[in-house]
C-alpha cells in the first residue's frame, strides 16, 4: 500500500510494553501522564493477544503492532501465509501502520521469528542488498493494507560500503514507504561504523519519518571502543538522549514518539514519559504532536 503520511493519525507519546508482564498497559494508560498509545510485539496470530489488546482499546487508547518476524531485506521472501496472518492481526487490532526493523529474521526458506537468530541480523549495506530489500518491502506492502514503516535495526557491526542513511533513504524512496527511527539503533550504528548520523541527514527523506523510538541501552567495551546494546529494561543513555535532541527538530511529520520500556517499573515509565514530553514540546517541529504533548502535561 502506498504511503499517504498526511492521512495517518498523530498518536502522541506512547509506550512499548509487554502485554503479559508488568507494568500493566491498562493501568499505565489510565495514569495521568501515561502513554497515549501502546505499542507491542507479539506472535503472528492475533488470537494470542486479542483479549489483552481489547482491554487496552476499551480505554480509547490506540495500539501499534510491532513484530519481529518480517524479512524486510535479504534473499529469503516472506511466506504468503505469514503475511496473510499479519494482515489479519493488523485488522484485528486496528494498527494504523505496520512498522518493524529492516533486518533478517530468518536465513532460509523457513519463515520464523528473529529470536531464532538470537535477535535481528542487520542488512548488508550494498547495492545488491538494496535491490532485495526493495523487493521484500514491496512484497509486504502488497499484502498489508496499512502503510509500512521500516526501521534501521540495532547495528553492532556493519557489512557493506554504503552508509545507513543512504541505504534507508534509497529504500524508502524506491518503495514509497515510511520510516521509523530508533535513537539507540542510530547510536549503535555510529559506534559500529564511525560515521555520524547528523552528517548523513541529507541522504534520508526526513519527511517520511512517522515514528521515533527511544529506549534504554547499555555500552559494552570492546577493544576498539564501546558497542551499543539494546536493553529496554535499562535507563536511556546520554548518547541516546543527545541523538533524540538533535534529530527531533529535523522530523516534521512524526506522528508517534514511543518509549520502549518493557520490564521497566511503572513509576520510571511515567517519569521518563514526562521527560520525553518535555523534549517534544521544546524541540519538535510538528505542531499537532507538540499540542498533544502539551495537552498531557
Amino acid at each position: 500500500m502506498a504511503t499517504d503520511i498526511e492521512q495517518l493519525p498523530v498518536l502522541g507519546m506512547g509506550a512499548s510494553l509487554s502485554l503479559s508482564a508488568q507494568p500493566d498497559p491498562v493501568a499505565l494508560v489510565k495514569e495521568k501522564g501515561g502513554p497515549q498509545f501502546v505499542e507491542y510485539a507479539a506472535r503472528v496470530n492475533a488470537t494470542d493477544v486479542y483479549d489483552e489488546v481489547a482491554r487496552i482499546r476499551a480505554t480509547g487508547t490506540p495500539v501499534l503492532f510491532h513484530p519481529s518476524y518480517i524479512n524486510f531485506c535479504g534473499s529469503y521472501s516472506n511466506s504468503d501465509a505469514w503475511l496473510q496472518a499479519t494482515q489479519q492481526h493488523i485488522d484485528t487490532v486496528d494498527s494504523p501502520w505496520f512498522a518493524q526493523d529492516c533486518a533478517y529474521c530468518f536465513l532460509d526458506e523457513r519463515h520464523s521469528y528473529s529470536t531464532q537468530l538470537g535477535y535481528f541480523i542487520p542488512p548488508i549495506l550494498n547495492d545488491a542488498s538494496l535491490k532485495l530489500a526493495i523487493r521484500r518491502v514491496t512484497e509486504v506492502q502488497a499484502r498489508v493494507n496499512v502503510p509500512v514503516a521500516i526501521e534501521p535495526p540495532p547495528m553492532t557491526f556493519v557489512v557493506g560500503h554504503m552508509t545507513l542513511f543512504e541505504f534507508f533513504g534509497r529504500l524508502a524512496a524506491e518503495t514509497d514507504c515510511a520510516l521509523l527511527l530508533d535513537m539507540g539503533h542510530l547510536v549503535s550504528y555510529e559506534m559500529a561504523s564511525g560515521y555520524h548520523i547528523m552528517d548523513e541527514l541529507d541522504k534520508l527523506p526526513l519527511e517520511r519519518v512517522i515514528e521515533v523510538h527511544i529506549a534504554g541501552g547499555k555500552l559494552r567495551q570492546g577493544d576498539a571502543g564501546p558497542v551499543y546494546v539494546d536493553a529496554h529494561e535499562n535507563t536511556i543513555l546520554d548518547e541516546t538522549w543527545h541523538m533524540f535532541e538533535q534529530l527531533l527538530p529535523q522530523l516534521p511529520r512524526v506522528k508517534a514518539v514511543c518509549f520502549e520500556c518493557e520490564g521497566v517499573a511503572k513509576a520510571s515509565v511515567l517519569k521518563t514519559l514526562g521527560k520525553v514530553r518535555e523534549q517534544v514540546i521544546a524541540l519538535s517541529s510538528h505542531p499537532t504532536l507538540v499540542e498533544m504533548a502539551a495537552g498531557h502535561t
Partner: protein, 306 residues
C-alpha cells in the same frame, strides 16, 4: 559471485567460532572459501572484529536462554562439569542455526548426552543417572517437535479428552500420539525443583553465573527411587504457520514401565490386572496399577480404543 554467498559468510561469521577466529587473525582472507568477488569481499572490511565477537556472544546468550527452558535439568548438569558451560556455548553453532527451532532442543540434548557419555565420572552410576535425565528431556523434546511438525503439515487432528465411561476397565486402551515414557532415577519434577534455581528464560543466565559443584550435584541427586516419567505434547495453538505446543507430564512407579507395551489397543485394564493377579501380584500393587491406568486416561495420555 553472489549476494547469497555474502549472506552465508555473514551468518557463518556470527555462528561459527572457528571462522570468526580466522577472520580476526587474517581479515577477509578468511573468507576465501566463499564465492565472493573482490568487491563483495571488501564489504566485510567494515566489520569491527571486537564488536562482532560481542554480537556473537550475545546471540549465544539469547539462544541458550530460550533452549535452557527446554532442557533445564541437562543445562544445570552441564554446569557442574569443568568446561561444561563453555561446551554448551560451543553447541550453539551453524548446525544448530540450520536446524528448525522446534528441533533445536532435542539436538542440543543429543549433544549434551554425547558430551556427558564421553566424560570421566567419579562413578558409573552417576553417569547413568545423568544420562537418564538428559534422555528424558530429549524424549520430551522429540514429542514436542513431532506434534509441532504434524500441526504445520496439517496432519494433526485434535482430540478432546472425553468423559471416562463407567466400564472403562473393560475396554482396550492405547497410547495417544506424541507421548513418551522414560524411566528416571528419581522424580523428574523433584530433581528439576532442586537443581533449577531459576525458571524459563532466566535459567541460563542464572546457571552460567552460578554453576553447580559436582559434589553438590551428586548430593542433590541422592539415592535412586526410579519413576516412570510419562509426557505428552499438547497443542496449545493449532495454527499451521505458528503452532503452540505445551508439555504435560505425570510420574508413575517404575514397575509401570513393563506394562506400557500392553497399552496398544488390544488389552483392557481388567485383562492386564487379571494377568498380574495370576502372576501373584499383591492387592496393593494391583490397586496402584489400576490408579495409574486411570490417571493416564484422565490426563489424555491414553484413550479407549474405538
Amino acid at each position: 559471485m553472489s549476494f547469497i554467498e555474502q549472506e552465508r559468510a555473514m551468518r557463518d561469521l556470527l555462528f561459527d567460532a572457528g571462522l570468526r577466529e580466522q577472520f580476526s587473525a587474517q581479515g577477509v582472507a578468511a573468507l576465501s572459501a566463499y564465492q565472493l568477488s573482490d568487491e563483495e569481499q571488501s564489504d566485510f572490511l567494515s566489520i569491527r572484529i571486537d564488536a562482532l565477537k560481542i554480537d556473537a556472544g550475545m546471540r549465544v546468550f539469547m539462544l541458550l536462554s530460550q533452549l535452557a527452558a527446554e532442557m533445564p535439568v541437562s543445562i544445570v548438569i552441564m554446569s557442574a562439569f569443568e568446561k561444561g558451560i563453555e561446551a554448551v556455548k560451543a553447541m550453539v553453532n551453524i548446525e544448530l542455526i540450520k536446524t528448525p527451532t522446534y528441533e533445536r532442543g532435542a539436538l542440543l540434548g543429543t549433544e549434551i548426552r554425547d558430551w556427558l557419555a564421553d566424560r570421566a565420572m567419579p562413578d558409573q552410576k552417576l553417569q547413568s543417572m545423568l544420562l537418564a535425565y538428559v534422555g528424558a528431556e530429549i524424549a520430551v523434546n522429540w514429542s514436542r517437535s513431532g506434534l509441532q511438525k504434524a500441526i504445520m503439515k496439517q496432519e494433526y487432528i485434535a482430540q478432546d479428552i472425553s468423559e471416562i465411561p463407567g466400564d472403562w476397565k473393560q475396554k482396550p486402551i492405547e497410547l495417544v500420539q506424541y507421548v513418551s515414557a522414560v524411566i528416571v532415577p528419581r522424580s523428574y519434577d523433584g530433581i528439576k525443583k532442586m537443581l533449577c534455581r531459576a525458571a524459563g528464560d532466566q535459567l541460563w543466565s542464572h546457571t552460567s553465573k552460578n554453576p553447580l559443584a559436582l559434589e553438590q550435584l551428586q548430593t542433590l541427586l541422592g539415592d535412586e527411587d526410579p519413576r516412570l516419567l510419562v509426557s505428552r505434547a499438547i497443542a496449545t495453538q493449532q495454527a499451521v504457520i505458528d503452532p503452540g505446543v505445551g508439555i504435560q507430564t505425570i510420574e508413575l512407579s517404575e514397575g509401570f514401565a513393563s506394562l506400557m507395551q500392553y497399552i496398544n489397543g488390544q488389552y483392557s485394564t481388567d485383562f492386564i490386572l487379571q494377568q498380574l493377579n495370576a502372576a501373584g501380584a499383591p492387592d496393593q500393587m494391583l490397586q496402584g496399577v489400576e490408579a495409574g491406568f486411570l490417571e493416564l486416561l484422565k490426563t489424555g495420555m491414553t484413550r479407549i480404543t474405538e
